[in-house]
Symmetry: C3
Subunit: 159 residues, 3 copies
């Protein structure tokens, strides 16, 4: 048993798939896994649209950023061939026929396997994302926490 | 002597250059190097156009993805300033005048130096890429194999 | 105390923020940190416009690449929602109001904390960037130097 960390910087659907597949694979081999979600990767942790009241204390700029960022992992685009979501839809159809899990399903499995998910508080400030907008059962921390975890891990990836 | 792994997720020409330069540098220092090609990175392992018959057993969606993905490493674009291939052509001209190897040449060197190249079988399913479409001399495996290699390595990168 | 390396391949403003925040966090915990700037990441090390005479010995192609690459870290775009620089300006306004440092400020802190910054000489050749165009106080080296540093480090990231 060893430890792994993954910084999830990207908000691309395909990169999130890669991150969760690695995290779940390691957890299945009894590794302790920490995923640290920062910048656009925070989009993966957002609650579905409608589940959140608009935060009244955001600045106009924070509201703009927050509005641009997809409201749910399954709405994120691909890093390539996205074509305004058509690429992602297409990929998800193939995934279904090949029995490959969606990001939402992979995240659910990660939770069940005890993968630790941390939201980067500095990125939340910059992008204007409040705790009430993120899913339950996650932790909140900064770079010092990430570095402590990485120091104890034998595989550390930036995705 | 130690081990290194590189996950090659990206299909950008410049990122592939970086991946192979690191792999070849490590192999030259007698390290064991494993490159794990997944998602768009699989494009680097494709046989040149014309060398492959169309797979009859692909779904329409898999055919579409497969058609969009460049058929050869030297046809891949840059992550920046690609301008429909003009940027890559320009970069390749400078590389030639500066005696920097192309991706195809770097891959050939990697082979000669015994760098292990693994194609991710799950990504092949999602993108509709068959073994007959990939170059010879590579291995096929999934995330468990990657994790076993990474556990034994002291440098693990995601590119 | 341990060592860390970060390959800075990307020239995106947000990814540079992430790279420097991790580097500075580790340096603050008394780690030795080496940042290896390659390809578009070299843009972060450029002197401001006007500070450099045009290099007479660049080829036309090198001049073109060199001209496209932003001349200063604070002019770099975001990896998402950049909108020709509007996204970056917006993010910088929020950062200011939230007391988050800019890339230029993060780099200054990195210097003060003794973070070692290395410019990749092969990328400089390919992109046509001369030493006279880069800031003072950095080192110049290739992949072998990176690998030696990485071999001694317990966290190695590619950003």
């Amino acid at each position: 048993m060893s430890k792994k960390t993954i910084i999830v910087f990207s908000g691309d659907y395909d990169k999130l798939m890669a991150a969760f597949i690695i995290a779940n694979g390691a957890a299945a081999m009894d590794d302790e896994v920490t995923m640290f979600f920062t910048f656009w990767g925070l989009a993966a942790l957002r609650k579905p649209v409608g589940a959140v009241a608009n935060s009244a204390d955001k600045s106009g700029l924070q509201k703009a950023f927050s509005a641009m960022l997809p409201k749910h992992a399954e709405k994120l685009g691909l890093s390539r061939f996205n074509f305004a979501g058509a690429g992602r839809s297409m990929m998800k159809k193939v995934m279904k026929s090949e029995n490959v899990m969606t990001v939402a399903e992979l995240m659910e499995t990660a939770r069940e396997q005890g993968v630790k998910m941390i939201a980067c508080t500095m990125s939340m400030d910059v992008l204007g994302i409040g705790k009430d907008e993120l899913v339950d059962g996650i932790e909140y921390a900064g770079v010092a926490t990430y570095l402590s975890e990485a120091d104890e891990s034998n595989v550390n990836l930036f995705i």
